[in-house]
Amino acid sequence: MPRRFLSLYCPEILSGRLRQLVEWCDRYSPLAAEDGCDGVILDITGCAHLFGGEGPLFLDLQHRLRRMGIRSRTAIADSWGMAWALARYSKRCVVKGAAAIPALDRLPVEALRIPGEIVLELRRLGLATIAAVRKIPRQSLAVRFGSALIFRLDQILQQAEEPLAPWRPPAPHRALRTLAEPISTLSALEYVLRELLQEICERLEKNHMGSRHMDLTCYRVDGTVDRCEVRTSKPVRSIPHLLRLFSERLNTLKADFGFEAFTLSVLDIERLDPKQLHLLQENLVPDDASFDALVDRFGTRFGFEQVNRIRICESFLPEQAVEFRPATAPMLTSAEWPAYRVRPIRLVDPPMRIEVSILIPGGSPVQFFVGNRKHRIVRSEGPERLAAEWWRENGSRRNARDYYRIEDDQGFRFWIFRDSSERWFLQGHLP
């Protein structure tokens, strides 16, 4: 399929607004990028038929930009360079194949996207149009002007590749809905979302894939964009589950004057094979009532940093022996923890400084104060000497801590330690 590029030239656009425009152009093609400081380039290869062909796409874009009050010129051509040149220096808008060459030949040399000094040099030699430049043999051009001119000439005539770096990586799956009238109510949003999800999930099912990260982009009437994202801990393609996750987020969208188009992109996919159900399976749990769905709902509402799985690591330091892993991270196997190492059930992190009385220097504690409250110690067990491993920071015997398990006269049990400089800390509560 021949590649097709659309170049948008907006000479009056403010630099901050250009990025918004690029995101807005995402509705025409996922391969959109900023082009200099006053233009947008779109790779619309294979996209035009969604709008009824290149002509209707072109008119639609023009119409919407005019309505948004953006003065612009647009051109569609076979290469980035040609589209760029036509948008800026020609009245022709949509050109294709061999028909492009005459249109190109009439353009001034500035249309080649070359530095100003080369343009001046060319004009001084009387080469004002691209046609004149193309008549000169390549070797002479290369000797006189260096490789830049040749390279640009090749790019415009599609003899050299010009890669396009889109503003975000193109999504593996994407669905688009354009509405005749803008909508702003939640129920209408949900209706559109359900349709989009149906389309996407059908495709995912065919490919045996599930989504880990979805993005709903909503295009407002005034050309601005709002979006909401949904991440999941496991690959998912169940519509009720995804709808429920999105419904948590939909009310954060600000419709203002209403949304007129939506794209739903799957940004991250993972393999998800269909499950064979047993005919006599008794307790069949629907996808949106499963434990994974609960994890996803927690993650959507609170962020996955707050939803944790626990992993035990091999470390003597109590703060480092337990790792709180986000539920989206792959599950790693925990280390085995020896049962004789009694640990508290609640950890005070960072440890709290306490004042402790001891009878003999280096001996076990007798009483301690937490703030003003005095605890008389009736039982104690220890010391258990713990130090960070030698390969860690501060990992030396000099920084070892002596841990004691103690019980006060009320029956409260604590885990306290003495550090190398004879200071005492409360580190945990035993059950």
Binding site: A289, L294, F302, N308, R309, A339, I345, Q410, P431
Partner: protein, 231 residues
């Protein structure tokens, strides 16, 4: 525990009429003496229990033991406003770290929402949450969700925090001094059943030893003995 068999039979019939016996037929064993005292023959699953203590660590341990007993290696959701729970302390109580899903959220309304969602999910075996001060409507809604999904919910709080309006049972755990020879991995608590729907309050001294809860005194503690212990 009343010994009269006629009274006992009548009680059972009334229980059936009220739906208490049928609704709470599946139970979690606590300790023999406690199970005999409770009208359900154990701690009912699929319901809300409030566990209060002056020492949150003790309340947490009690809830963890019972959650682990309810279901072998089921998912346990822990919901709290901070990250103070230390999972290594749970393993000797029967809760393995990989069973645990830890949700940390600060706002009270978010806590309540999360507990509700977790209670609705039937693939969860137990929910332990630091949640207090629920009104009648809120706690009934939690109870209904728990009954439908058969998830057991333990709501922990400090003794002085606002209570849950309508739990099935309310426990107050107080720390008790252990014997001099006892290890620190065998904690002792005074367990006070201060409210039980369709049953009587009672009090026991329980110790955690040999992977089970044992009653130190077989009968509910008399008032005098209770005071002596507390003093």
């Amino acid at each position: 525990m009343p010994a009269n068999p006629v009274v006992e039979k009548l009680r059972h019939q009334i229980g059936c009429l009220e739906g208490v016996q049928r609704r709470f037929s599946r139970t979690i064993p606590i300790a023999d003496a406690v199970d005999r005292w409770l009208p359900y023959g154990g701690l009912p699953r699929g319901s809300i229990h409030e566990v209060k203590s002056t020492n949150l660590a003790a309340a947490l341990a009690f809830a963890a033991i019972l959650s682990a007993r309810g279901h072998e290696r089921g998912n346990i959701v822990y919901i709290a406003p901070d990250r103070s729970l230390y999972p290594l302390g749970l393993s000797p109580l029967g809760v393995k770290p990989d069973q645990l899903l830890y949700l940390c959220t600060r706002k009270p309304q978010d806590l309540a929402w999360a507990v509700m969602e977790a209670l609705r999910c039937s693939q969860v075996s137990a929910v332990i949450a630091l949640l207090h001060g629920l009104d009648l409507t809120a706690s009934r809604r939690l109870q209904l969700a728990a009954e439908t999904s058969q998830v057991t919910g333990f709501l922990l709080g400090r003794t002085n925090s606002a209570p849950i309006a309508a739990p099935i049972t309310r426990w107050i755990i107080s720390p008790v001094n252990g014997k001099a020879v006892q290890g620190f991995d065998e904690p002792v608590w005074a367990v006070d059943l201060s409210y039980c729907r369709g049953g009587h309050p009672g009090k026991w001294i329980l110790e955690w030893r040999g992977e089970k809860l044992n009653t130190v005194f077989a009968q509910p503690v008399k008032q005098a003995a209770r005071e002596a212990l507390a003093g």
